[in-house]
């Protein structure tokens, strides 16, 4: 089974994981807005957008673990 899994190139690994980290940094910044507002639309948008961006980072990490290691 493991023979069928081709590890990604180093360049690809760096690109994907770096994008994931950037996404998480943006997610933390966006979601921090929740601490400073009680406006319903801002709460809703920062919560949903923040969760989405941080989840993208989780996926990038998972991709790195499964396919990224050379």
């Amino acid at each position: 089974m493991s023979g069928s899994r081709q590890p990604a190139s180093e360049r690809m690994y760096r690109r994907v994981v770096r994008a994931g980290i950037t996404s998480q940094i943006a997610g933390v910044v966006v979601m921090s807005a929740i601490l400073f507002t009680t406006t319903p639309i801002l709460l809703t948008l920062s919560l949903s957008l923040g969760v989405f961006l941080i989840a993208l980072g989780f996926l990038a990490w998972l991709w790195g673990v499964v396919w990224g290691r050379a």
């Binding site: 406006t39 319903p40 809703t44 989780f58 990038a60």
Partner: protein
Amino acid sequence: MIAVWILGVAAVVVLVPLLSLRSSMRTRATPGRRLFTFAAMVALPGLWLLGMFAFADVSMRSTSFCLSCHEMKPYGASLTAGGEETLAAAHYMGGRSDRDKACYVCHTKPGLSGYIDAKLRGLHDVRVHYFGEIPETLRIKGGYDVNICLDCHGETENFRDDPAHRPVMEDIESGGVTCLDCHGPAHAVSEGASE
């Protein structure tokens, strides 16, 4: 206020390892490096996310949050108007429900499904408030669920042993008769308050 500080400092604690990891990306990692990557990209953001969820959830349960939309102002005013004649005022003024989350307690169905339903209805309300057409008369979609009342009152002796309740107990529990049929209106506003 202290939660804001804690989560604000925690945000910095989450950001520092992420920035450090981003500036020192390596493909061939040692076990220690892999552990650091896991902590920076999964554990710390995950824990912070849970904390932020809890913070946002508490914020969105607050009475002041619900009353921040102008459509709700008359309903908020009815919590303290006219003595304790209406159900909402009786609960709020009489200290029968937590004043800091008075709207949430009486407008959220019991259980996890009720919580999810409240979140979905909240999303709908936010959409209508900002982008939709607000109706002149506000009505609860599907009517008021009697199980919200029964969640607190259902097993109490005052409710069970009340001579007025006994003959209609089955109807109350099946939803055929609601509390508002006899104890309404819930709010002292011009129209649509009790539905």
